[in-house]
Amino acid sequence: MSEKVEKPTNYYVPEQSKLPIIGSVGLFVTVLGAGNYIHNTTGVVKAEEGSLPSIMASMGPYILAIGAFIIFYLMWKWWSTAARESMANMNSAQLDRSYRQGMMWFITSEVMFFAAFFGALWYIRVFALPWLGGEGVDGHKAMTAVLEWPGFQNLWPLTVTPQEAKDGAGASFSAMGAFGLPAINTAILLTSSWTLTIAHHALIDRNRPTLILFTWLTALLGAIFLCLQAYEYYHAYVDLGLTMGSGIYGSTFFMLTGFHGLHVTIGTIFLIVLSIRCSKGHFTPENHFAYEAGAWYWHFVDVVWLFLFVFVYAI
């Protein structure tokens, strides 16, 4: 696939590829491992020692590791192939457009993935908690608090869950404030968007040093964000007693910030790869789809954070 080709005019259909089937096997092994790993750690499998399910469960971590390795290998191969093709000038303008649009739609699907969790947060706060807290109108859920959850009060952040209120227990954790670390993290991500834009402009202006510097800088900001978030989680678990099990507040908090953090991680790796590729001179003002894809992805992650900051931390 690496013969030299001039810029194609008609459409390029790549020849057969082993990558997809490797990826499918990788995904399969990964989830097989993950499922068994979960069963192993949570003891869901009630089976006898030595029976098939319990053997599978105990092998879970290893299967997962193999799966993760295959996936990692696949991604490495896939993207290096794509990069090689792009640099060998095998991608027509049309294919370049296809990649761009594909990336846009992929980000759209990511937006909808986050929408599910934001939707959950809004539904809980607008409907479920008021009903549980006795704010149902007469004739509609008004008896919920009376019969099921005496003593429960709907206060956000919800530090006393309905069950805890019913059992007469006090608050089991403290909520995460908005204006400490989270505010700093907001500033970091906003700055990173800015540095990335500078880098992108530098790419278009053929200003290599600025491009390389600012792309690295963006990746570095991403990494700092992640370190701070790791510290925030540590703080939550150890100092605040705030865990995934801390009622619906803990659930939504960790689900939303956790998936966001995962995306920052992916984005940061993406940026690091881009930085290296910048140093190698892979991008030209005319041909830098990968760079733009990374930039879009990073901005998307950034915007999600703004929503998080407002809806998870601030209000």
Partner: protein, 386 residues
């Protein structure tokens, strides 16, 4: 193409049969159609249903007639040169507007009816209904009567697999041990909730179907016009025995209802007295075994099976460690009192004596010959410790 015509006319026949059977349907317990029911709202629901059925059949009939006409009149042998037209704004406006009008016509009565159905205010009495795997629990909030209501048909009757075929009664899946007794002519508010998964309390004769959601309390209501016995079912998939948690309502005139409440309260007081007495006394092995078998067959066999052999997710008790090892007696009692995962908790529903009896029974039946005798006092003691 005559074949086509045949089938098309067959189809028309089919639809007219459907219409015909609707007309011919007996108003009560039709096997074809909704029941008109015995409340004002269920009547209105039925009338609205019939109206929609007719209108929908008319709409579909029109479409079918047009298609039928087209395939006969414009088939190639009859109409060899096709026309060329491919749009007509007028037509398109017409067939956008007419459906809108039809829908608006349908929506109007539906809105009014819905508002009435959802208005649970100004009720005369309230019944709390709790769905459980797999039976209903009823609590009369005004008179503190409370009981569980289960399918009373024994498993041999509905399970054809390992049993000699048994004659099934007309309503064999719609019989319960304790009916929900309600007065006629009163606005009765139902408060629905669940203690495990989502169930749905459905009484077709009242046009009432409301989900019982764990942790929330839903409201709905009815006012029954006619005394009688009405049958319904759980209408939301709630696990293995979802198909086996029927509802039976017995509607009584007010005076008889009041009397029923009296007896129920007296029974309750008596039962409490007996329970206390039973708990205090020392039982013989035979008595415990007899009582235990009675309780087991009524309450436990549906999951753990008659012979204690268990079924799928329901563990076997025959030979189970918890039922044969002598240091596990307390654990055995506790799992019945407190429940565990899918095992319901029986601490409230069964008296201490009944629990002691069923534990003794399980430890000595089906070859679990432990000779252990458990007295109610031990249950009372453990309960107090919880």
């Amino acid at each position: 193409m005559s074949l086509l015509r045949k089938v098309m006319s067959g189809f028309v026949l089919f639809v007219s049969l459907f219409i015909g059977s609707l007309c011919a349907a007996e108003p009560e317990y039709s096997t074809l159609n909704l029941r008109p029911g015995v409340t004002e709202n269920s009547q209105r629901v039925f009338d609205l249903h019939m109206e929609v059925v007719w209108i929908m059949l008319a709409v579909a009939g029109l479409v079918f007639a047009a298609i039928l006409f087209a395939v006969i009149r414009f088939r190639k042998s009859n109409h060899p040169t096709p026309a060329k037209f491919s749009h007509s704004t007028t037509l398109e406006i017409i067939w956008t507007v007419i459906p809108i009008l039809i829908l608006a016509y349908l929506a109007k009565p539906a809105i009014g009816l819905l508002l009435d159905m959802e208005d649970t205010t100004k009720a005369d009495m309230s019944v709390k209904v709790t769905g459980k795997q797999w039976y209903w629990e009823y609590e009369y909030l005004d008179s503190s009567v409370k009981f569980a209501s289960r399918l009373s048909t024994p498993v041999e009757v509905y399970d054809n697999r390992n049993n000699e075929p048994v004659e099934k009664g007309e309503n064999y899946l719609l019989e319960v041990d304790n009916e929900l007794v309600l007065p006629v002519g009163k606005k009765i508010r139902f408060l629905l909730t669940s203690s495990d998964v989502i169930h749905s309390w459905w009484m077709p004769d009242f046009a009432v179907k409301m989900d019982a959601i764990p942790g929330f309390v839903n409201e709905t209501w009815t006012r029954i016009d006619k005394p009688g016995v009405y049958r319904g079912v759980c209408a939301e998939l709630c696990g293995a025995l979802h198909g086996f948690m029927p509802i039976v309502v017995r509607a009584l005139p007010q005076a008889e209802y009041d009397q029923w409440v009296e007896t129920k309260l007296a029974e309750k007081a008596e039962a409490e007295r007996l329970a206390a007495e039973a708990a205090a006394k020392n039982w013989s092995m035979e008595d415990l075994m007899a009582k235990g078998k009675e309780v087991y067959d009524a309450k436990c066999a549906m999951c753990h099976q008659k012979g204690g052999e268990g079924l799928g997710a329901f563990p076997a008790l025959k030979g189970s460690k918890i039922a044969i090892e002598s240091d596990k007696i307390d654990e055995h009692i506790n799992i019945i009192v407190l429940g565990k995962n899918m095992m319901p908790k029986f601490g409230e529903e069964l008296t201490d004596a009944e629990i002691a009896a069923v534990v003794t029974y399980e430890r000595n039946a089906w070859g679990n010959d432990t000779k252990d005798v458990v007295q109610p006092a031990r249950v009372t003691e453990l309960k107090a410790g919880n």
